[in-house]
Every structure is written in structure tokens, then in C-alpha cells.
């Protein structure tokens, strides 16, 4: 099948004159990419799977001893790790739900004829285009208890967003919502503008009110694309590291990836952190799978 997709090389082309066949040209382009992937992605992936069954520490010269599933057993019995998972779950739910609400809401507002719509949309997309680290650094300034503009604007005095253990996680989630709502907005806007106008006219003729129209026409028709936004954002939120790491060091905001980082590069428990990385990977895969199943169901309608 795949070979039939390749168009034959023009006999008179320069490549042909140099004696390059279709297949050699294909290889020329594809093999480096595949090599790159193998060296930097697939090899570490498999190698770390091996490490996850050992007590290897990268900071010592001691050889790795095979200890079977001991790392997995320890991790899954560690209440500390479980609390990290709970924090992460809370963070994912707050941040993805917030992004959906804000992003979809803004998209609804933008989905009409307003002046400067293009410019407005582009400006609203800016947060998404910034680097995570930069966003983290300047939100740290915004949240600052003594001179931060947020406290000044809201009249909160010296409220400590990032050092308050009860607030830190929400503050990080809020920043994430600010940064990634535009992404949901962009996808929602595409979905909303794809809903044919005549369906709204038909609904108006059928005497449907605005809420009925929204829940029965708009939402079901935008649902598949919204689902894609949810999948992307859930995966990303699950893996959040830089934003949370820069913003706060509160243990109540210690996401699983931060725990992983500390375990691997501060405590040098290489073998155990590999096991943890695998647990996270399996969880993300499982969640994504559930979403994709649901997405397919939505699409079928």
C-alpha cells in the first residue's frame, strides 16, 4: 500500500540524473528523523523501563541491582506519592474546567460580527504563545504580596497567594487558566463557526429559546472539538512542571512531576523515579484512552 503512494521520480530531474532513486530519496529524508527519535525518545524510554526494576542511583558508581517490582510496590504504598497524585488530580480538574469555561465563554462572545474581531482574537491568543517559564516568572511578580498588582487591584493588602498553603495550588491553576484558555477559545471558535447558521434560523423558527438552542444545538455540535481541547489540556496539565516549579515551593502544590523531578535529580533515586515516570505514563495513557473512546462516541452522532 505505502509504496503505491510514492510518485515516481521524473526521469529528467536532477535527482534522477545523480542516480537517486525514489526509495533512496525517501530514506534520505526519513531515516535521520527516525534515528533521532530512536536515540532521544525510544531508547531512553526502554532504558528507563529497565532501570525502573533496579535500585540504580546515577550519583554513585555502584552497579544497578535487579530488585524486581520493589520500586513499584514502594511507590504505590507511599502515602506521600498518593498525596502528590491527589494534588495533581485536583490541579488538573480545576485548571481544565477553568480553561473550558473561560475559553468557551470568550469564544461565544467572539462568535459574532464585531469590529476588530481578528485583532482581538490575535491579542487574546498571546498568553498561549509565551514560554511557560516567562509566564511563571511574571505571574510571580503579579502575585507578589508587597508590590504585586493583583493584591493592589483587588485590595487584598498583603495576601500571600503563593506562600499560603491553601492558596498556592489555586494560584498556579489560575495562571494556567490564564495561559491556556486561549487554546480552548481557539478550538471552540473553530467549532462554533462550523455550526451552520441555518440551524440557528431553523431553531428560531421552531420557537426554541436561547438556552434550549445552546444546550440542544450549539453544545452538541461543538462537543467533539471541545473534547479534543479537553484531551490536550488534560495531558498537558497532568505533566505541568515548569509553571508550578517556578511559582511556588509549597508542598500543598507539589504536583507529581515536581515530585518526580526531586526524586530523580535531588535525591538521585534514579531507579525509583523511573518506576514513578512509568506509573505517570500509564495513568496519562489511561485517561486519554477514556477520552478518545468518548470522543469517538460523540463523533458518531
Amino acid at each position: 500500500m505505502a509504496t503505491t503512494m510514492i510518485t515516481t521520480l521524473d526521469r529528467s530531474s536532477r535527482a534522477a540524473a545523480r542516480g537517486l532513486s525514489d526509495i533512496s530519496i525517501r530514506n534520505l529524508f526519513i531515516i535521520p528523523t527516525i534515528l533521532f527519535l530512536i536515540v532521544f525518545n525510544i531508547f531512553p524510554l526502554i532504558y528507563s523501563l529497565g532501570y525502573s526494576f533496579t535500585d540504580f542511583r546515577a550519583s554513585t558508581n555502584a552497579p544497578a541491582n535487579f530488585i524486581g517490582l520493589q520500586n513499584y510496590r514502594d511507590l504505590l504504598n507511599d502515602p506521600y506519592v498518593w498525596s502528590n497524585f491527589a494534588i495533581t488530580a485536583k490541579y488538573v480538574i480545576i485548571s481544565v474546567a477553568g480553561q473550558l469555561l473561560v475559553g468557551f465563554g470568550v469564544a461565544m462572545l467572539l462568535n459574532r460580527d464585531i469590529p476588530l474581531k481578528g485583532l482581538l482574537t490575535t491579542l487574546l491568543l498571546l498568553p498561549m504563545m509565551l514560554s511557560m517559564a516567562v509566564v511563571g516568572l511574571f505571574w510571580k511578580l503579579l502575585y507578589d504580596p508587597s508590590f504585586g498588582i493583583i493584591n493592589y487591584a483587588l485590595g487584598l493588602g498583603t495576601f500571600e497567594w503563593l506562600s499560603d498553603p491553601n492558596m498556592a495550588l489555586y494560584a498556579v491553576a489560575l495562571t494556567d487558566i490564564w495561559m491556556w484558555s486561549p487554546f480552548v477559545m481557539l478550538l471552540s471558535l473553530a467549532g462554533l463557526s462550523a455550526v451552520p447558521k441555518h440551524l440557528y434560523e431553523a431553531a428560531a423558527i421552531d420557537r426554541a429559546g436561547p438556552f434550549y438552542t445552546f444546550f440542544r444545538i450549539t453544545l452538541p455540535l461543538v462537543a467533539p472539538i471541545l473534547m479534543i481541547a479537553v484531551i490536550f489540556r488534560t495531558m498537558e496539565a497532568f505533566k505541568t512542571f515548569d509553571l508550578a516549579y517556578i511559582l511556588t515551593s509549597q508542598p500543598t502544590a507539589e504536583l507529581i512531576s515536581i515530585r518526580l523531578y526531586k526524586m530523580a535529580f535531588q535525591e538521585w533515586q534514579t531507579g525509583r523515579s523511573c518506576a514513578m515516570a512509568y506509573i505517570v505514563l500509564i495513568m496519562v495513557l489511561a485517561i486519554t484512552n477514556i477520552y478518545v473512546k468518548y470522543l469517538n462516541k460523540v463523533k458518531e452522532r
Partner: protein
């Protein structure tokens, strides 16, 4: 019991006026067809009645009450769209039930209404399907069902069968007519297809460039077109229109087409009925079936030469040359063997129309 009245309706799209001072009164149970070329304002008129377009002047009255400031939902009018506009994520049942559910009727009532409409339209076995699984004709039935289910004051249809193929169009045309006779609701139907208009309408409303041209029964519009536009728009094959001059002859009038050497013989009464317009610039309109062709010379028949012959199955359309002008005549199939044949033609005075060239208006001559 629904009457719809448009009085002095004006509508602009930017600087372009798409509806110009439209006055129309539609009676209860009447089937009205708005007929015109694309861009003539007929769809805009329909959408204005439905409440999907605002108007810039005049009144739209439903049962005597002005509704131009009401939203579509408050006018209690159903509409069938050209694109069907079925809700793609709902089953046929849900589509038909939608208008009832939107107004929060009880479940049992909805079920009963939907099933009875489905039965009328013979789509009961399709109720569980999604619109994407339906054929064009079935989609149209569902769209009509959705409009019918709530027993609206009036049914508006915007080229509802324009997207179907020719054979299906003919079937659906008959079905819509049957349904109208059975259900009997005030209906307004928009189309650019004059055959559809003729076959469905109680009265046809012909529009051109936003201006109402003529309102009348299909027969009236066909036999007595009010102006040159209507004359040439209604009827297929198209009516012949040629500049003509009327002169007085011994015992009769003579109508000369273009620069022809001799004129066709008309009753003398024509002269008085033209009311002094005889001297002015006139156009003669004659439908192909009003041009009578025969092989033998006879009194009142002029010798002419055939040009092109278009065989159309049940009849032929033969182009005959009169002076430098071409007249299309309708003959029995195979009556003329081909181009270049010498035949004799006359014009049936009863089917002739005379128009004032300057204004395009019919002079109302009936012989």
C-alpha cells in the same frame, strides 16, 4: 385561519433596495408562490415574513396584527428551508419533536403528534435514523414534518425541492400539493422554477428586482401577463416577443413583425382595442403554440422558411423566419422535416399580446 398582509414593505441591504414597496394580501388557506429569478427579493420577502430579516419600512400583518417587530419565535410560523436545515446530531424523531420539545409539551403529547405527522408523510420507518442516513427526498419529508408538527399559523417554504433531482422534484411537488389540500394551511412558497409555480399555486406572485410584477392565478398569469417581464418569464418554451407595427388594411388590421414584407392578418377590432397606441412602438408577444404552421398555403397564412427544429418528444419547437426575425412555433413532433423547408404560418389573434415597448406594460388587448 390565517391571513398575511404585506403593506408598503421596504428592505435595503446597504445601499441596495431589495424589496421595493411590496403590497400583498394572502388569504386563509391560500397557496401563494413567490416566483422570480435569483436575486429578485423573493427569498428576502419570505424571510422577512418569517422574522429572519428585519424590514426597513412598511408593515407585515398576520391576522391583522403587525408582527414586524416580533422575533421569529413569536410569530408562530413554520418554515422549510432549501438546505433542509435538519439538526444533524438528532434522529428523525428528535428532529420532528424539536419544535414541540422547545415549547415544553408533555411527552405523551409529543409522541402522539410526531407519530401522526410521520404517518401522514409516510416516514414512520425512518424515525430512528439520523438525517445523514436519509435520501434527499426523505430529508425533505422530515423537514416538512418538522414544520407541520406544531400546526403553525402559516407554512413558509424556501425552494424546498430545489436541491433534489428532476424526477424526485416532480414527485415531491405532487406530494406538497396533496399535503396542502389535505392539511390546508396558509402557505407561501418561493421558487425560481415557473413550472413548480404553475403546478402548485393558487396565486402566483411574480417579482423582479424587488418589485412586484403581477399577482394572479397560474392561468391568469400565463394567459394575460401584465408586462414583458412576466410574459417572458412564465411559460416554457419562452414567449416570442418582437417589435411590430400595426397598420389598417381593407377589412382588417395587419401586424407586421420587424422588417417583414407582409404582415399577419388580425381582426379589425385590434385597432380600436389598441386605444391609439397603434402608432407608437409596440411589441407583439406570442407563445409558440399561438404560431400556427401548416404545409399548404391558405387564406391569412404567410409563406415562411423553417430554420432550426428542436424535437422535444411530445412536440417540436420550430424556428421560422419572418423578415429578419425568428419566431418559435410549436408543432406536432415530426411535422417539419428539417431546416430550409417552406411552410405557411399565421398568428392566432386570440393568443397574441401587445406591449408598449417603452414601459414594457401590456396593453391589455384581448381578441
Amino acid at each position: 385561519m390565517t391571513q398575511i398582509e404585506l403593506s408598503g414593505v421596504q428592505k435595503y441591504f446597504g445601499a441596495v433596495q431589495v424589496i421595493k414597496d411590496l403590497n400583498l394580501k394572502i388569504d386563509d388557506n391560500e397557496f401563494i408562490v413567490l416566483l422570480g429569478q435569483s436575486g429578485c427579493g423573493k427569498t428576502t420577502t419570505l424571510r422577512a415574513i418569517a422574522g429572519l430579516e428585519t424590514i426597513d419600512g412598511g408593515d407585515i400583518l398576520i391576522d391583522g396584527k403587525p408582527v414586524q417587530h416580533l422575533k421569529a419565535a413569536d410569530r408562530d410560523i413554520a418554515m422549510v428551508f432549501q438546505s433542509f436545515s435538519l439538526y444533524p446530531h438528532m434522529s428523525v424523531y428528535e428532529n420532528i419533536a424539536f419544535p414541540l420539545r422547545a415549547t415544553r409539551k408533555s411527552k405523551a403529547e409529543i409522541d402522539q403528534e410526531v407519530r401522526s405527522v410521520a404517518k401522514t408523510l409516510q416516514i414512520t420507518d425512518l424515525l430512528a435514523k439520523k438525517p445523514s442516513a436519509l435520501s434527499g427526498g426523505d430529508m425533505q419529508r422530515v423537514a416538512i414534518g418538522r414544520a407541520l408538527v406544531r400546526r403553525p399559523k402559516a407554512m413558509l417554504m424556501d425552494e424546498p425541492i430545489g436541491a433534489l433531482d428532476a424526477k424526485l422534484r416532480e414527485e415531491m411537488r405532487a406530494e406538497i400539493k396533496r399535503l396542502h389540500i389535505k392539511q390546508g394551511s396558509t402557505s407561501i412558497y418561493v421558487t425560481h422554477d415557473q413550472i413548480e409555480a404553475m403546478s402548485l399555486a393558487d396565486r402566483i406572485v411574480i417579482m423582479h428586482e424587488g418589485v412586484l410584477q403581477q399577482v394572479g392565478s397560474p392561468d391568469d398569469v400565463y394567459s394575460h401577463p401584465a408586462n414583458l417581464f412576466v410574459a417572458q418569464f412564465v411559460g416554457s418554451p419562452v414567449m416570442n416577443v418582437a417589435e411590430a407595427s400595426v397598420t389598417e388594411k381593407a377589412s382588417a388590421a395587419s401586424v407586421t413583425v420587424g422588417d417583414a414584407a407582409t404582415g399577419f392578418e388580425f381582426p379589425r377590432a385590434l385597432l380600436s382595442k389598441l386605444n391609439g397606441h397603434a402608432g407608437g412602438k409596440l411589441a407583439l408577444g406570442i407563445r409558440p403554440e399561438g404560431v400556427i404552421v401548416r404545409h399548404e398555403a391558405a387564406d391569412g397564412f404567410l409563406p415562411v422558411e423553417t430554420q432550426i427544429v428542436e424535437p422535444l418528444g411530445s412536440f417540436d419547437i420550430v424556428d421560422i423566419k419572418v423578415g429578419s426575425r425568428m419566431l418559435r412555433a410549436r408543432t406536432k413532433s415530426g411535422f417539419v422535416s428539417g431546416p430550409g423547408e417552406r411552410v405557411f404560418a399565421r398568428i392566432d389573434p386570440a393568443q397574441a399580446h401587445f406591449f408598449d415597448v417603452a414601459s414594457g406594460r401590456s396593453l391589455g388587448v384581448r381578441l
